[in-house]
């Protein structure tokens, strides 16, 4: 307590928390409380057409043997892996290419913001049309270029739907990734490159030994955000495929939502908690194993 008194002025503490009050209040009431509420609900049999009763870990045990749940887990993890990796690669390539003054900067910037600014729901319907069996541009082009024998049933087949979802997601998020990587690249002093070139290194070597290490903090943060976003994906899938065909593209969030609508709030809450855990675990993984901690400090 003595140390505490020495370090802080009571007036300041009071002022600080007064300033922080609105934010903290909102955060507690509208984020913390609901999550705790979800946790509690998951321990109950909370079904709209049955009396509620405490059921302990029953909902979680049910998850263990639920085939469709595991299918959602597989789908979600696969989606996260493929999507984030693709965004990263394309984003990095674009950032490297653009890493200098770009002509017509303003226009390019607006163009780059378009995918990000459009609501996911709107872009999902856009892609729904583009991948449409009869009217879609993709099939039209593919047929014309002889890439396919017949129209591809994108949204009606498991792999097609997966591809459509990944492409839509990559479209939406790559520009953002590019900007972030660009800014990160811009922070690397050019002298280092000059030195490396004088030492007679190739571009590839420079990339792996100069660029990447210095880009690491930015990279890790960007990946962390993108991964967690991808784990909780809902909007795109709900609007584009509805989780189909046959439940093949149902992400974990969508799976939980379906149970809410079926009236089983307990089970839906349990699934929601799993999403939470997966996101949390991934975050911990990133912090621990990628040296984020040092970066933050």
């Amino acid at each position: 307590m003595k140390v505490f008194k020495d370090r802080y002025l009571p007036n300041e503490i009071r002022d600080a928390y007064l300033f922080l009050l609105p934010m903290l209040l909102f955060a507690v009431v509208f984020i913390l409380l609901p999550v705790l509420g979800t946790l509690v609900t998951s321990l109950f049999r909370e079904v709209t057409f049955l009396p509620s009763r405490f059921s302990g870990l029953d909902n979680y045990l049910r998850l263990m043997t639920d085939r469709h749940f595991w299918q959602s887990v597989r789908f979600t993890l696969l989606f996260v892996g493929v999507s984030v990796a693709t965004e990263l690669v394309i984003g990095m390539v674009l950032a490297l290419i653009l890493n200098e003054s770009i002509p017509g900067r303003g226009f390019v910037r607006v163009a780059v913001l378009v995918p990000w600014a459009i609501p996911i729901a709107v872009s999902a319907r856009m892609w729904e049309m583009i991948f449409n069996f009869d009217y879609g541009v993709v099939n039209f082009v593919a047929l014309r270029l002889g890439l396919a024998d017949g129209p591809i049933n994108w949204l009606g087949s498991a792999t097609g739907a997966f591809g459509a979802i990944v492409i839509s997601d990559v479209w939406k998020t790559t520009p953002f990734m590019t900007i972030i990587l660009l800014a990160g690249l811009a922070a690397i002093p050019q002298d280092l490159y000059k030195q490396a070139m004088v030492d007679g290194t190739t571009f590839i070597q420079r990339f792996f030994y100069v660029t990447l290490p210095l880009l690491r903090p930015v990279l890790v943060v960007a990946l962390l955000f993108r991964t967690i976003d991808a784990v909780r994906i809902f909007d795109l899938i709900y609007v584009l495929t509805g989780g189909g065909p046959g439940g093949g593209t149902t992400s974990l969030s969508l799976y939980a939502f379906k149970y809410y609508i079926s009236g089983d709030f307990g089970y839906g809450s349990a699934i929601s908690l799993v999403v939470f855990l997966v996101a949390g675990l991934l975050a911990v993984f990133y912090v621990r194993f990628t040296g984020l901690r040092e970066a933050v400090k």
Partner: protein
């Protein structure tokens, strides 16, 4: 300090305009195809003029799932709107048992409404819960067999098939002949894609062999009669070759209807709505078709899956008396007759079926009246959508060749037993 206060006041003002009291309106949620929605507007307009009550008619998206989602969210949130809404027959138990609907029978006597004209078997089977009626049918639907009269005649058959065996023979012969100049011709089209409709198809095939989904009030799928029926469904595609390969990937109501309407099939299993569309000007099969009950297996009987939409009132309505006026109006003989004549619907009131005007427009009305009473329903369970999901996936997988019928039935049974345990009272 002053500006902060100003900020907050402004925000509160805006917030409050948002949650300004919702003036009480009689809200009626509908959905469906454009011509349906248009006609509802006409009918409701008439109600408004006759009774002097304003109705806020809200269009939901046409997708059944999204209509249900919208209703579930509103009802679970105990919202005063919608007051009146339509429900798919398979949602009824979930809605009833969740306590979202107003019992209707208290209103019957007070307003001189009688339930007698309605098909008793249907209404008692699906619209009741614990001694009360919570909904009534706006229209009924059953699966029927459409057939090409002209082709049957051309190939020397005296009439539509009575048994599945006859159907296979007729389809086989006609298909072989027609494919000479129309390679895209198929003998028999039906809904086999992985969606709710597949449960109806499955129900019809199995029940027509004396089987079905429910037995003695429980789901009993693994019976040998079901095995035979499911094997037959598979054989239609793989052995007899009269149903196309994309039956289990693409075929839903519209895909089947469009193909038949183009003239590319001899037989079609579909709902009643297809008749009017087939007979429209410009249809390639206009005047060439007939409608009959679905075939059966030798030892079974002809059955039809029961579909259709029902109307109910929200328990949380802020104007139940007025809501009932609207419900009563829609279920009245006059309104139901208009719906029949304008939309080609088959009402839940049997007294419409003897009306000469109706019989003139819909020649099969007499036949159908008898069939409704014998229609089979999908399981009346509050957790039906999960049961449906199991059946859809497994049957579709079986059709695709992933599992033999006996194994598929066994698996469905155990999964549904598990679900039943979870939701036991």
């Amino acid at each position: 300090m002053k500006s902060t206060i100003l900020y907050i006041l402004v925000m509160l003002a805006i917030l409050l305009t948002g949650c300004a009291d919702h003036e009480k309106k009689l809200t009626f949620w509908i959905g469906g195809a454009p011509q349906e929605v248009d006609y509802w507007e006409t009918l409701v307009g008439e109600f408004e003029r006759t009774f002097g009550i304003t109705v806020d008619l809200i269009r939901q998206p046409s997708s059944t799932d999204q209509r249900k989602q919208g209703l579930v969210i509103s009802l679970e949130a105990e919202q005063p709107d919608p007051d009146v809404f339509l429900m798919d027959i398979v949602w009824l138990q979930q809605f009833f048992q969740s306590g979202w609907l107003q019992p209707l029978d208290p209103f019957f006597e007070a307003t001189g409404f009688s339930i007698a004209p309605f098909f008793k078997d249907v209404v008692d089977a699906v619209d009741r819960f614990e001694e009360h009626y919570y909904a009534l049918p706006v229209f009924l639907d059953i699966g029927v067999l459409y057939y090409r009269k002209d082709l049957l005649k051309q190939y020397g058959f005296s009439g539509p098939p009575r048994t599945w065996r006859e159907l296979v023979r007729q389809a086989h012969d006609v298909q072989a002949g027609e494919r000479n100049h129309n390679p895209g011709f198929n003998g028999f089209l039906w809904q086999g894609a992985q969606y709710e409709g597949l449960v109806c198809t499955f129900l019809e095939f199995t029940a027509s062999n004396g089987g079905g989904i429910i037995q003695d009030g429980h789901v009993r799928l693994n019976r040998s009669v079901n095995d035979v029926a499911l094997e037959f469904m598979r054989a239609l595609i793989r052995k007899y070759d009269i149903s196309p390969l994309n039956t289990y990937t693409d075929m839903r109501e519209e895909e089947v209807r469009r193909a038949f309407q183009r003239g590319d099939a001899l037989f079609e299993r579909n709902w009643l709505y297809a008749w009017n569309l087939h007979q429209k000007d410009g249809s390639a099969v206009e005047g060439k078709i007939g409608m009959t009950a679905l075939p059966q297996f030798e030892e079974g009987q002809s059955v039809a899956a029961l579909g259709g939409w029902h109307i109910g009132m929200s328990r949380y309505s802020d104007m139940p008396a007025k809501a009932w006026e609207l419900v009563r109006f829609i279920l009245s003989h006059a309104s139901q007759k208009k719906l029949v004549l304008n939309l080609g619907w088959y009402p839940g009131r049997s007294d419409i079926y003897t009306d000469p005007e109706v019989l003139k427009k819909m020649p099969y009305a007499g036949l159908l009246q008898k069939t409704f009473s014998r229609a089979v329903t999908r399981p009346n369970l509050p957790y039906y959508d999960q049961v449906s999901d199991v059946i859809q996936r497994t049957v579709n997988g079986c059709l695709a060749g992933k599992q033999p019928p006996a194994a598929a039935l066994g698996r469905m049974q155990s999964e549904i037993d598990h679900i039943e345990d979870i939701y036991a009272r």
